[in-house]
Point group: D4
Chain length 204, copies 8
């Protein structure tokens, strides 16, 4: 709140009992709430009225949708495996009243796919890029646009790419000035950073 | 250029001869140029008229200063060892026509020092934080302000902190949503990202 | 015993059969015993009379409770996910006759929560801090108190924070002099070290 | 010899005395020889008639130049810091009688530079790509051509890119099928692999 | 396509729903398709007519077999645990119309087994070597043949060999010039690289 | 100060000019000051009256010695290479008015040397152990005494022990409950933690 | 065979079908065979007459027991969790006709337990030591005996000790000359090395 | 002594003053002494009568040569860069009265060189193998002989082979049962282990 974005509940590492208690309390007080990194064993305590649950991204939202939707950040993904993280970012934006459109499957192994969508991508004020494997999308995209780009390495890949290790070091080591990075898989954090940028531009 | 910020010359890894050739060509064409990560063995070829050389940050600027100076990003450092990186960021902002004031030595081992400067820090639109060792400043600062914060881990420290390793993982692992990160020591990249954010807010 | 604290049985890595044999023998001899890092597959052999089993912390205690409870160490946690480790420490203290009150959810992303509890925290002679993610709590807390602080990194987090890696290096790299560290997740060891400190102050 | 390429002398890790002895013997026998990874302290024993020494690449060649020069592999570099490694590859090709033209400074932070040279690049049968920092060039280039591409990560970079670590994992983790990789800095090995490919196509 | 080999669908990291959708679309359009890294939970959506599924290699092929089979690459494995990866390479070759015979269980702990098959191995124009544990096969094989060799480290092993870590660094660090490397487990990529080499030799 | 121990100046990473400025200011104000991790290039600015410089430990003390010397912590080292770190701890204790006797060269490769000094070691209330290589001393010592033991891994060793890596993980992974750890080489931090323990026992 | 010890079948990484085929063939030919690293999913194909299966160590032996049992190597373990690996070594010795007595639970956290068994340990010609966590047993034991000692790090432990990482680096970094090391968990390899030593002493 | 081999003085990490003091004392007492890992800055204090100094291996021996020389261990190296480590082993054997002949430059990139020397190698009772880069020699050699083989990874190599990292993991991950390993560069430790084996076979 004091920082302009809500604290979310990070469900990973919490027992279903603890998550259930947090949800009960929020519903009782009619408080809006965002939950992230929900996994299989949390589902039973979250599958109930008043909880807008999205399995693909492992997120849940309590309380009414945000009343208005301002222009927000565009989320660009390298492959269709990155969609869960993209939706974590998109729903975090929505929770705070911002649009979060997703353009997916434009990784650089097929550069023309990125080029075809470039005008659309350039029309947004802040970009969030999600990529796993070698994460070459981060550098290429940042070199093609003027907006700030936030890289979210995704844990897609095997061998040296396992858990997003290669994509993370790619994002940090980039030659393309203007790219900043959040932790592997942290779509929530990328969205919150994007919101800080948008608020700076349009103070309420 | 196409991205709104200039490409700089990364001198680390280039022989003095190559750097000299680049500088000659730029001076001949009267082109403005920013050079970063200059080290001892480059100094002789850079100590000449027309080159504004700053040893502390390992940067050099060719060409006339930027004509106007818009409000830019404030750079906050944990310790006095971080000043070289802070100046790399500050001079990159100056090169592009933005102010880059530095507030130093406000690491969290003495939390009151940070608190005393908090109002001043909060008056800026974008923040760049530089810290080595365990990098606790990144999370604490981000939790106290509304502006976007860009973390630059600094290679200050020994043992597990050597080469900034602890500070980097601290910055990425932060619980404080709204923080983004660049590579250890990359004051240049942090400044370029800040400029993208400022331009997004005030398109020319 | 010769060191002033009991050796505990580390159940992780032992088959249920081996654990059952150890428990049988202790019950037969009427020996007090502490078991740690109990997991799912050990539960059936431990769910029996005479065994005080705590699933949240994965600990079990055999034998009568300690006769008296001296003032001990206060355990401070960053988030509610750290509670299992906090209880491992707390129950180890109890087993040896010391109090181990827990103050939880005072991580630095919301610094005011820590500040509100500071007087209470300062009233204890030894502190144990438990934190995952980037572990910024360790440095901030140590900079605010005069007591010795023992850091227990917790394996909460993903990406670079997986398995507590970021919290561990944060704790070791701290600028805040007076902090010492135990292995990730080692609430038992932190409690034993605290007991050594308390005994040194109040030799029996 | 039995493998179609010569064994070279890896000077790194050998004392100047040992290198001198090897050179003496080769000159005495009139044997052609390639030496790689020559550093400062080897120079005095190599600066003599009959030794074609190239400081930039740290290579030396003994004996007459190769009699003919067949079409070989084209070496593409991301930045001007990669030139030493590019020349190690190029001179290894020359030693075996193949051309090794270098196209430099076409890194993807400025994608148009790569695009401008693409026709020229596509005219070669085997490509060797040299890049440091995040090594995004490897994936982008491989996605744009039909020839086999061999990646040589270069030890250019700092922070997570130090010693070529980020470029190496990028090359291995690539989504662009058809790329193979050699050790960081191994221009010699890349050239030998290229020669095996060319010989397979045109058996002598 | 533009690169001479097909893009495959990497199933790892994709939900069964997404994979099913991709397969439906390809079958509808009568498009040939290669799927790789299929795991248990994908099997139900792939066990259907028109899909040639191979569990051992985790690959599936849609569409008619390739019309002709040209001489391709020979795949050599160290042990019988490497067979899954060998078949991923072999089926990728087949998908593109090339033969991919497998010679298995010739690891260097029993050097004579390799020697017995050496003439057969030498009769192929391109070699793919698959090995886990310490991966000594890569260097020994490359030193015995004239063909280009592509190393595929396999994730077979425990301790320091877990996930193929030792085999990967062995392959990259080789003294045997002429070896190139792909990511651990990437039989698909090795085959695509082999195809580029074969096409370079025999342009269609 | 607020924490009961002084903040020291960490000289590593600071230019001689910055260190000189800090010293000037302290001497002008007659302030006592501790400087740590002084290296060669700082020596010229520190070799002056009023500065008690110790090269072996890389520490300097400004101002009058502490008026009284209370019983403090005993520092135990494995080998004679650990003496610099032992003295950093010892001088930090002295600066704060505590004794810091050193018992050296009692590593466990010769267990009888440790056993001969055991009574003396047991007479101290807090122990600091310094060891490099495999750091087996930490576990053995902690298993033999009742006092709290603080491990300082030392950067002595080569191969897997380089930079103290093996000793650090040994200290953290110990089976001997009651051991806590500080960063490799951090004699200063170990002493400050010891002082917190001693003050807790004897509040002034 | 040519090396004096049998090649064993490493079951980890092989499908049950492959293991079954190997076993069938050996039984058909009446060949003696040792299988190691058997896990849960292999059990059904191994639970049959003629197979001496030991679940605790994950080993199986086909064929008649060795006819005689010569004095062999003594296996010393730090804790009761190391028993599986100790038995892998013991059964490998037995398979080759050597005794392999196990002395367990003599880790150095309770040094007197090791001292009580020292005479017995000293009576053996070759020692194999198994330890997890920080592996301090390796150095202490080697410093107390004259026999060659082979360290087998065990994957017992959590945090920095996970997968035996701390024990492995401890064993390699030892100050106690005369210790050699095999891969984490490799009881089989340790036994084979011990047999080579015993055979060297008593050539058949 | 109690272990059958002498403790040596590890000079790395010790100041010249400390080394000089140790040498003075030994010369005064007429004690035989072995010093290892001597570097440039120790040379002045060791270049004196009564000290048998060998720069190539960084070792020095004080006192009379060993009176007799028994058959010892044969040291086999992959390349001529490994000679310093080979001599450290050889001189350690000599110091204890054992022969230590060296067979060098038989790495597996040229397998025939190893084969040519195989009979000679097989005539020795214990083997020490020294190799850097990918260390394939360890596995190949162990698979060809019956003697115990001790691997000494050597810090020769660059990229992933830097500091012997690839050779070390290769040695540990070997498929060739009967190989044991010491720390990278530890020729001294390998020789001491060999001596334990030889003494076991021929007790004095
Ligand atoms: N997916 C996420 N990644 C990173 N931080 C998060 C995420 N979700 C929530 N958080 C933050 O992590 C902290 C969660 O703390 P808690 O839920 O109290 O353990 C809060 O500061 C949240 O804002
Ligand atoms: N097994 C594999 N390893 C590496 N890359 C692959 C593999 N299978 C497919 N790919 C490539 O990885 C990308 C997968 O993209 P997508 O399926 O869209 O997420 C495509 O460029 C594929 O050609
Ligand atoms: N050797 C040391 N190791 C760890 N921290 C130190 C050391 N010396 C000083 N410090 C602390 O590190 C910080 C140094 O900050 P500064 O000198 O302002 O860069 C202060 O909080 C010191 O107390
Ligand atoms: N090159 C070496 N590598 C490993 N250990 C060594 C080496 N040289 C000596 N040592 C041992 O390391 C210890 C050195 O102790 P000190 O010289 O007292 O620091 C003694 O136990 C020596 O036997
Ligand atoms: Mg795609
Ligand atoms: Mg400071
Ligand atoms: Mg919380
Ligand atoms: Mg460039
Ligand atoms: Mg095999
Ligand atoms: Mg010693
Ligand atoms: Mg035990
Ligand atoms: Mg050689």
């Amino acid at each position: 709140a004091r920082t302009g974005t809500a604290e979310a509940v990070l469900c990973e590492g919490k027992s279903p009992d603890i998550v259930a208690a947090i949800v009960d309390k929020a519903l009782d007080h009619g408080r809006r709430l965002l939950l992230t990194r929900i996994s299989e064993h949390h589902l039973t305590v979250l599958d109930r009225p008043g909880v807008d649950l999205d399995r693909e991204s492992g997120t849940a939202i309590l309380g009414p949708p945000s009343s208005d939707t301002r222009a927000g950040a565009c989320i660009v993904t390298a492959g269709s495996s990155d969609i869960g993280i993209a939706r974590e970012a998109s729903r975090t934006l929505a929770f705070h009243g911002y649009a979060g459109p997703v353009i997916s499957d434009v990784g650089v192994a097929g550069l023309w796919r990125l080029m075809e969508r470039l005008d659309e991508i350039r029309s947004h004020r802040v970009l969030i890029a999600v990529a796993g494997m070698e994460g070459a999308l981060f550098s290429v995209l940042t070199g093609l646009v003027r907006a700030p780009v936030i890289a979210v390495p995704s844990p897609v890949g095997y061998g040296v790419a396992r858990d997003g290790a290669a994509a993370l070091s790619s994002a940090l080591a980039t030659c393309a000035a203007g790219l900043t990075v959040v932790n592997t898989g942290n779509g929530f954090g990328a969205a919150c950073a994007a919101i800080r940028m948008l608020r700076m531009a349009d103070p309420e």
